[in-house]
Amino acid sequence: MAKNHIIDPRPDLPLFERGESHTLVARDIVQTFLDDGNNEVRAIEGFSLEVSGDEVVGIIGPSGCGKSTFLRLVVGLDEPLAGTLEFDGEPITGPDAQRSMVFQNANLFEWLTVEDNIAFGLKATGCYKEKCYKIPRLIEMMGLQGFEKSYPSQISGGMASRCGLARAFVMNPGLICFDEPLSALDAFTRATLQDEIIKMQQAAHASIILVTHDIEEAVYLCDRVVVMTERPGTNKGELAIDLPHPRDRVSDEFVEKRRQLLELLNR
């Protein structure tokens, strides 16, 4: 335990090892699930998406259009019924440290302290000894100093989200899926955390797929937003957002992009 408190024991090592650029290819994905009456429901029907480099891609669409289902396929929690799903040219068959996920409401382990929550992935994959120097640095980056030994029940929702972010980034993933990560937070905390996400993403050079219901959040964070249709979800349209970071939420370009996205969604 005490080891975790040594401030940066390996300053010579980078927090994020910069690997080669990663590519996710999803083509004509079909996925079904069983509803309460044991009927087969088509969640996704022929959805395609390509993400590479350190792109931030948003997915928005009506409730139940299969956005979260798609993320589960990308991280390897489920397998698609049909379609091609490849990461760096290899088919996705299961979870992998290269593909990480930030869950709704942070989804921390209540019985672990903040630092143990962040260390979980390292310990589970047996590379804790080798990479534990990352934990104090991530804690500092996320502004969680002083709360290393706190339990999730002792910290605020915003701090829990920060912890969830650190937990996703500790494995140095090439792709991170965000499943409405900030939906339960108040507007002020959400705005701060959006900046943190961008900060972490730029430091880690990871690509992000962000599922959200918040149009402003999509325009604020994403380089590109993919709009899905109602269930069964498929591609409805796409909007590139080529504004530089940090973005100004009240600038004319920002408002214009917001309007375009809304238009696309309601088409």
């Binding site: 929690l77 979870p95 440290a97 996920m101 869950f103 979980f120 589970a124 709360f147 339990y151």
Partner: protein, 346 residues
């Protein structure tokens, strides 16, 4: 017990106060009314002492008291020590103030027993011994009590140990594997609810010695609630937590031991409280047959000799032992589940 939980809650939330937030402790002075209330038990003991010393011992004629007057002096002294501590520790003060009526009433009730037995002979021997007699039972038979206490604790300890081991393993196996659940769950549901008393003759036949039969009875009483609650808790682990662990690359055994098991800890402690309580019953029952030592056996033995003061003393000892064991379990739970107890929020 609810008061016990309450106070445990209070103390941990104080401990959970974080280094970055200063929790200002409410230091409230003792009010005069509280001070008077705290003195009540001492007053009750002094009055009881006066009564018992001034009334003659008539039943049996010429009986000389040895322990009861000393008890009425020593207990208030111990209480006074706590009062001094209470001056510095608000938590103890609040408890003393809260329970002072009860403590005073206990002294008066015991003195009432003294009057009804030794002082008047209203209640008859040997069934209703005086407080003095009950108090003398343990000091005058220390050897017997130590021997039987050790025998009981050994039996209970062995039984609880095997109950924990078997309950933990079955619970884990049933929680993890559907096949194990298929085979064990019906057995658990059929065997588990049968009270230990019903198993007694079968246990004696099954096991080579009476001691082992007792161990089996106690183990079963722990095994049932532990296996049942643990397996259901593990099987109903929040799937979102399991997903999170899988995404981070955890293997299935790792998830079992580092996600499902810790998530089941609250249920495991619920089961342990149930199991420990029923194991006390199993202990007494298993000492009724076959064994040659143990506090349960001693109660039977003393009553058959008409020495009811020993029976009462043993029951008192049981109360202390069981109360202590349950409280130790409370403390352990408090330790293990400090993540759930904290009420400090930002």
């Amino acid at each position: 017990m609810s008061d016990e939980q309450q106070s445990i809650h209070g103390s941990t939330s104080e401990k959970a106060a974080h280094q970055h937030t200063r929790v200002v402790k409410q230091r409230r002075l003792t009010t005069p009314f509280e001070a008077l209330k705290m003195l009540l038990p001492i007053a009750a003991a002094v009055i009881s002492y006066g009564i018992t010393m001034s009334l003659p011992n008539v039943y049996p004629e010429g009986y000389e008291m040895s322990y009861w007057p000393a008890f009425l002096i020593i207990m208030p002294c111990i209480y006074a020590v706590f009062m001094v501590i209470a001056w510095f520790v608000p938590a103890i003060r609040n408890r003393l103030v809260n329970w002072s009526y009860l403590f005073a009433a206990v002294f008066f009730l015991l003195e009432l027993l003294d009057i009804l037995t030794l002082k008047t002979g209203y209640l008859l021997l040997p069934f209703a011994p005086s407080p003095d007699r009950i108090l003398m039972a343990i000091p005058n038979n220390v050897d017997q009590y130590i021997e039987n206490f050790c025998a009981s604790m050994l039996l209970l300890g062995e039984g609880v140990f095997w109950g924990l081991v078997s309950g933990f393993l079955t619970g884990l196996l049933m929680g993890w594997s559907k096949i194990a659940n298929y085979w064990f769950a019906p057995a658990l549901k059929v065997i588990g609810p049968v009270p230990s008393a019903a198993w007694l003759p079968i246990a004696v036949v099954l096991m080579p010695t009476a001691h082992l039969a007792g161990v089996l009875l106690i183990a079963v009483s722990i095994w049932f609630p532990l296996a049942l609650m643990m397996s259901s808790a593990i099987r109903s682990t929040d799937t979102r937590k399991i997903d999170a662990a899988r995404v981070m690359g955890a293997s299935e055994p790792y998830i079992l031991f580092h996600v499902a098991l810790p998530a089941a800890v609250p249920n495991i402690f619920d089961a342990l409280f149930m199991g420990l309580s029923s194991s006390f019953g199993a202990l007494i029952i298993s000492e009724q047959l076959g064994v040659k030592a143990g506090l349960g056996w001693y109660i039977n033995w003393a009553s058959s000799w008409g020495e009811y003061y020993k029976v009462f003393a043993t029951v008192g000892l049981f109360i202390i032992i069981f109360y202590a064991l349950i409280n130790i379990l409370f403390k352990v739970r408090d330790r293990v589940m400090k993540w759930q107890q904290s009420t400090v929020r930002w």
